[in-house]
């Protein structure tokens, strides 16, 4: 008999997870379910070939504190079960524009209304569109279990393609975005082979803070779908930090600064193409900050 639990409190959820993941008779691995936008498609693929799939669920959509956006001191906390539509509708500073732009390009409205930010990071797809903007915001992941709470940088939480550092008794409760300057702006560019409902070939998130003197005080650049894990381009950031934001910078975005990427060859694109596209999207993002009126920077 399949198990389906839908606790109304975080405490109940955590103790359930603890029991389920423990040793002995009560052990029974549970799959955490929220929007279902990854779990049910995976199930469809398994059902097609009469393969087994997870049938035991811990449904976290009834736990009020997991959904919603709130301030915690200087940080902003986004509950793990917050939907893309919630994020789009929220009043957030310009540093979050990239996250909102990503939210608007994840599936159709049907997916945006149900899919959650927590699910996107726990699913840990290399092409997860939510991850590059969060990495650019230096996101941390708030994790809870009956053993206690911990917070880890998103960059180390996602360990590989579909791999995270989440223990079996742990639950992601929120994404924590530490302090950011009010003057920070951000942008998300997605490249896919059709206009809607498309998995990214490459995506780029860029957060930029321009000093009063016109130089780049801070810049964070992340590329998605071009490595096993969306990746910050630290060398490129260092290259650009402190420089004046003008057209000459475009030439400084050179292939060598992308060597950290390890893109795949697959049905969507070649590895070679993904490197080139990442470079071009980064250049366009930079140009976009110079001329905010430019539209349609990505196809």
């Amino acid at each position: 008999m399949a198990i389906y639990l839908r606790p109304a409190s975080l405490k109940a959820a955590l103790s359930t997870l603890a029991q389920a993941s423990g040793k002995g008779r009560s052990a029974h691995p549970l799959t955490v379910l929220a929007g279902g936008t990854d779990i049910y498609p995976t199930r469809a693929g398994k059902q097609a070939w009469l393969e087994s799939f997870p049938r035991d669920f811990l449904d976290i959509t009834q736990i009020p504190q997991l959904r919603g956006i709130r301030r915690d001191g200087r940080a902003i906390l986004i509950g793990a079960a917050t939907t893309w539509t919630d994020i789009v509708a929220a009043r957030l500073p310009p540093a979050f524009d990239a996250l909102k732009q990503a939210a608007l390009q994840i599936g159709g409205l049907q997916i945006q209304n149900r899919g959650t930010l927590g699910g996107n990071i726990v699913n840990a797809s290399p092409a997860a569109d939510g991850v590059p903007p969060l990495l650019a915001l230096d996101a941390e992941v708030d994790i809870a279990s009956v053993r206690g709470e911990r917070s880890v940088p998103l960059a180390s939480f996602i360990r590989g393609n579909r791999q995270t550092g989440l223990a079996r008794d742990e639950l992601v409760v929120a994404i924590r975005l530490p302090g950011h300057r009010a003057s920070s702006r951000s942008l998300f560019l997605k490249l896919g082979a059709r206009s809607h409902l498309v998995i990214s070939i490459v995506s780029v998130a860029m957060l930029l803070d321009q000093g009063a003197d016109g130089t780049i005080a801070d810049i964070r650049i992340t590329v998605g779908a071009a490595s096993a894990v969306p990746t910050r381009l630290a060398a490129l950031e260092a290259e650009l930090r402190g420089e004046r934001l003008d057209a000459s910078l475009i030439e400084r975005v050179t292939p060598g600064l992308f060597s950290v990427l390890t893109p795949l060859d697959d049905v969507r694109a070649s590895s070679h193409y993904r490197r080139a596209a990442a470079r071009i999207l980064v250049r366009r993002a930079l140009a976009n900050f110079m001329e905010p009126q430019v539209e349609e920077v990505a196809a």
């Binding site: 009560s26 379910l33 498609p41 087994s52 409205l109 809607h196 049905v267 071009i280």
Partner: protein, 947 residues
């Protein structure tokens, strides 16, 4: 142990009514609606949130019902298509969709309507981008989205019911279900009441049921107590296998009652399109030849089938080295996929005319190239579904099909029965495009029902549908073309290899059609076109809108662009110079007698073409990164079977009750044949469209109208319908001694025949009739005149041809290699547009599929067996399309009409590739032109930009 387990029933509100359902908590909402509540208007296309067909509103928000667990619905309000009409804007949306022809096959329509409802509730004044965003989560494979968008934008204008547009209650017969007549309640468009139904924008007669969720598709109905069937399929490209003890297996699997394998097939364990190519087994014997091939089927209760883990099935697989791709299949030491074809060549087709050697030697200019295309999936949104039951010593199969009579004969063959002992009742067809010509689940279901004596049903999952059914043939084409100094084409030669996969299917048709059409719709005095269908261990390639002609057109149009350039001619003028006209001879030596309107198509496009070229010139002065291109392509397409008999029979009858019954065996797969054929019959008979009651495709009730393919139903079945109507008219005139110009009117059972001087009234209710109540009837046949091709491929393969030219403006991103389509202008010679709205719908949808072929679609077995890795054009990928209808009447056709279904698709992809070349100077010959392929070509040519 855990104690908080969810066990209780779910209480939710569905369409305003509170319901309590005792469903499993992880059951998908889509299944809860369809199977627990009987609300089958919500359609399932993928179970993965990729297609949006199952879109419903949950607390006013769009959701894919396939992604929501039953437990999450506690206390929620769900609205489905069945509740659409309760909303004030709902009926307006339905009327607007009906008026605009926004539903073709109708399978995506409930999802589209629910997404539209959510938008129109939220926003009062909507624009095109808002519609695209709001409906962007729903895929449509038929319409190209444009009429859907128009319908949503126009919905506010349909708030008040319009007399005669919708909702008219017209009588119909039978119970509508599989056991009786399948009937269609007719609506009445004002236009239909005008003197002529032909040429009027009659809203589709089978349209209303597609707009309220009541249409019955393959998965929507089955007899009470039907068992479920699932096939056990090979996960390997090629494998040997040994099946273990099935008796022990069944006794250990509660709820599974039977396993079928090859030994359970009562008749021949083989089927296939042609008498000499019945090479596909229902269940493989000894070896499987492609990934997804069935080796067995399990039959049992739903729950047991659902919970079954294939690891428990007693089978031992021995994966074998597969032959993949054309090159491997043709290598001398390749494994023989079928022993009957030692070289893996299933069939060869060729057309030879004139002397190409001399022509190439003496030409002024020459162009040559190698072109390749990939497997393309039909991606109809309705996966295969249906049921079978045994009725005495007969079998009935209710399923989604394009070809009921072929389906009947295939089922009879595998059961060892006479065709007359099999009844095929086509469900509404949620998209076909050639993919539902072959049988899929029908033989398995029929065998199960026959052997077990109980009804058995099955619904393919999306990956199962994609893995196991046919594809468009991948092609490898080498071609060369030559012209004289003035630009007159003098020669064309092509060698085309088509990967037909593991079984023959329609491979012979592709190999036959391609050489005939391979040089394009032009006067070419010297031709040598050869095509081969090659067996491999790939997916079965069969029929897909165009039978290889779209692939061949990519080659010839690219080469003619080059020739035009070499002789300094505009690409349109080059084509106009060479266009086939009346009295010209085709590559097969056929002299065209009539209805060759390509020159008129090109002339109509000329001003649009000049504008596109001017725009490109202006835009390209400014931008180096975004380059504008204008592309052009022409096509021709033989309507109906290639040099084979291709008959259709229609029957129209008047009953004692005054019912005008149209026995129409042509399957309307969304293209609109039911409407078009009735329009033809109405004008030929002299009664309005609204007088007809359709008795549609049921092999027990209707005569063989052939298959809905080869763009033949308007031309062939349309002519048969006209003949049937004329026969009925003659019968009535004979009865009343009225002159040929008499006018008919039908009121109740009173048929008034109004002659020049006198009129008479026939009281049908008191007229002598047969046991079936029929007083008068007319039967009409048509078989288009063709002649077989001789040893050089010379002859008259088709009675008529559709012609078209399309132009496209597009932007290429010279850095990313992406292509944005700006607009199409499509000029089509359709002979006569019986129903312009439906013709436009075909052209929109054909262009959309051409866009997919050109830019994004590539089926890779084991890798793109779903609708998120396999991309078809989505809302927003189809640009504005302007349509110019050219009517060069075909004397053989009904009211001058011929076909348009396939002609719409053929030129779209080559036009796009022509535009890319114009924009960039680079020819893309490895299709689809995905961004990385375009960028690679730009890099190779040294023209890629880096910003």
């Amino acid at each position: 142990m855990i104690t908080e387990e969810f066990t209780g029933a779910v209480a939710l509100t569905v369409n305003g009514r509170k319901v309590e359902v005792g469903a499993r908590p992880d059951m998908r909402l889509s299944r809860l609606l369809r199977e627990e509540l009987g609300l089958t208007g919500t359609k399932v296309g993928c179970d993965a949130g990729d297609c949006g067909a199952c879109t419903v509103l949950i607390d006013e928000e769009q959701a894919c019902a396939c992604l929501v667990s039953a437990a999450q619905l506690e206390g929620r309000r769900v609205q489905t298509i069945e509740g659409l009409a309760e909303d004030p804007i709902g009926p307006a949306l339905q009327r607007s969709f009906h008026h605009h022809g926004a539903a073709q096959c109708g399978i995506c329509t409930p999802g589209m309507l629910m997404a539209s409802l959510e938008l129109l509730r939220r926003v009062e004044k909507v624009d095109r981008p808002m519609v695209e965003t709001a409906l962007g989560g729903v895929l449509c494979r038929c319409t190209g989205y444009l009429k859907i968008c128009d319908a949503v934008l126009d919905a506010q204008n349909f708030l008040e019911p319009d007399d005669g547009l919708a909702g008219e209650d017209v009588s119909h017969i039978g119970d509508g279900g599989p056991s009786g007549f399948k009937s269609t309640a007719l609506s009445q468009d004002l236009a239909a009441e005008m003197a002529s139904a032909v040429g009027a924008r009659v809203a589709r007669l089978d349209g209303l049921s597609k707009l309220d969720g009541s249409e019955i598709y393959g998965a929507d109905q089955a007899p009470e107590g039907a068992l479920w069937l699932r096939a056990i399929r090979s996960p390997h490209w090629r494998a040997g296998f040994v099946i273990g003890d099935l008796g022990a297996f069944v006794s250990n699997e509660p709820g599974i009652f039977r396993v079928l394998t090859a030994v359970d097939v009562p008749g021949e364990n083989s089927f296939g399109i042609f008498p000499d190519t019945k090479d596909q087994p229902v269940f493989a014997e000894g070896e499987t030849r492609y990934r997804g091939e069935a080796v067995a089927a399990i039959i049992g209760e739903r729950a047991a089938i659902d919970a079954f883990d294939v690891r428990r099935f007693p089978i031992r697989w021995e994966p074998l080295e597969p032959v993949l791709g054309i090159e491997a299949a043709l290598s001398p030491n390749a494994h023989k996929v079928h022993v009957s074809r030692p070289d893996n060549v299933l069939v060869r087709g060729w057309v030879e005319k004139g002397d190409i050697d001399t022509a190439f030697r003496d030409c002024a200019h020459m162009a040559e190239g190698v072109f390749s295309t990939r497997f393309v999936e039909h991606a109809y949104i309705e996966p295969e579904a249906g049921f079978a039951r045994r009725v005495g010593d007969r079998v009935e199969v209710f399923a989604s099909t394009q070809a009921p009579y072929m389906s009947r004969d295939e089922v009879a063959r595998v059961l060892g029965l006479e065709p007359g002992d099999v009844r095929i009742i086509p469900s509404a067809c949620g998209g076909g495009f050639g993919g539902k010509l072959d049988v899929s689940l029908q033989p398995m279901l029929a065998i199960a029902a026959w052997q077990m004596g109980v009804p058995v049903r099955s619904v393919y999952t999306r990956p199962e549908s994609m893995a196991s059914t046919t594809k468009r043939h991948p092609s490898a084409i080498s071609a060369s073309a030559a012209c004289d100094a003035q630009g007159r084409i003098t020669a064309y030669a092509m060698e085309g290899d088509f990967d037909t996969g593991a079984y023959a299917s329609w491979g012979p048709t592709v190999a036959g059609r391609v050489p005939v059409h391979g040089a394009g719709p032009y006067r070419v005095p010297n031709v040598l076109n050869r095509a081969r269908a090659i067996y491999s261990n790939g997916p079965i390639a069969g029929a897909f809108r165009g039978f290889g002609v779209p692939q061949a057109a990519i080659a010839h149009e690219a080469l003619y662009d080059e020739l035009a350039e070499k002789c300094g001619l505009d690409r349109l003028e080059f084509r106009l110079l060479n266009a086939l006209r009346i009295a010209d001879e085709t590559a097969t030596g056929q002299v065209l007698q009539a209805s060759a309107g390509l020159d008129r198509c090109l002339e109509a496009l000329r001003p649009h073409w000049k504008r596109m070229l001017d725009e490109a010139r202006t835009l390209n002065e400014k931008s180096a990164v975004t380059r504008r291109g204008a592309g052009i392509a022409c096509m021709w397409y033989g309507i109906g079977n290639t040099a084979l008999s291709n008959p259709s029979r229609m029957r129209i009858a008047l009953t004692r009750e005054g019912k005008l019954l149209f026995f129409n065996g042509a399957v309307d797969i969304g293209q609109g044949s039911t409407t078009v054929l009735t329009q033809i019959a109405a004008d030929a008979l002299g009664l309005p469209v609204s007088a007809f009651t359709i008795v549609a495709g049921d092999t027990d009730k209707t005569a063989d109208a052939g298959k809905s393919s080869a763009s033949r139903q308007t031309f062939v079945s349309g002519k048969a319908a006209e003949n049937a109507a004329l026969a009925l008219r003659a019968e009535i005139l004979r009865h009343t001694n009225a002159g040929p110009g008499a006018r008919f009117s039908l009121q109740g059972s009173a048929l008034t025949v109004e002659g020049k001087s006198e009129s008479s009234v026939i009281d049908l209710s008191s007229s002598p009739s047969g046991a079936d109540g029929i007083v008068f009837e007319g039967v009409g046949d048509f078989d288009p005149p063709t002649e077989p091709l001789d040893v050089k491929g010379q002859g008259v393969p088709y009675a008529t041809y559709g012609f078209a030219a399309q132009i496209v403006a597009l932007d290429v991103d010279m850095s990313l290699g992406t292509v944005r389509l700006e607009r199409f202008v499509a000029a089509h010679d359709v002979g006569r547009a019986i129903n312009p709205t439906l013709v436009e719908g075909q052209i929109h949808g054909g262009i959309a599929q051409g866009i997919g072929l050109a830019l994004m679609e590539e089926y890779v077995p084991g890798r793109t067996e779903n609708l998120h890795d396999y991309l078809i054009p989505s809302f927003g990928d189809v640009p504005a399309i302007e349509i110019i209808l050219i009517e060069a009447p075909e004397p053989l056709g009904p009211f001058g009409a011929k076909g348009v279904g396939e002609p719409a698709l053929v030129p779209a992809a080559p036009a796009i590739l022509s535009g890319i070349r114009h924009a960039t100077g680079v020819s893309i010959r490895d299709i689809p032109a995905l961004p990385h392929r375009v960028r690679a070509a730009l890099e190779a040519a040294g023209v890629a930009t880096e910003i």
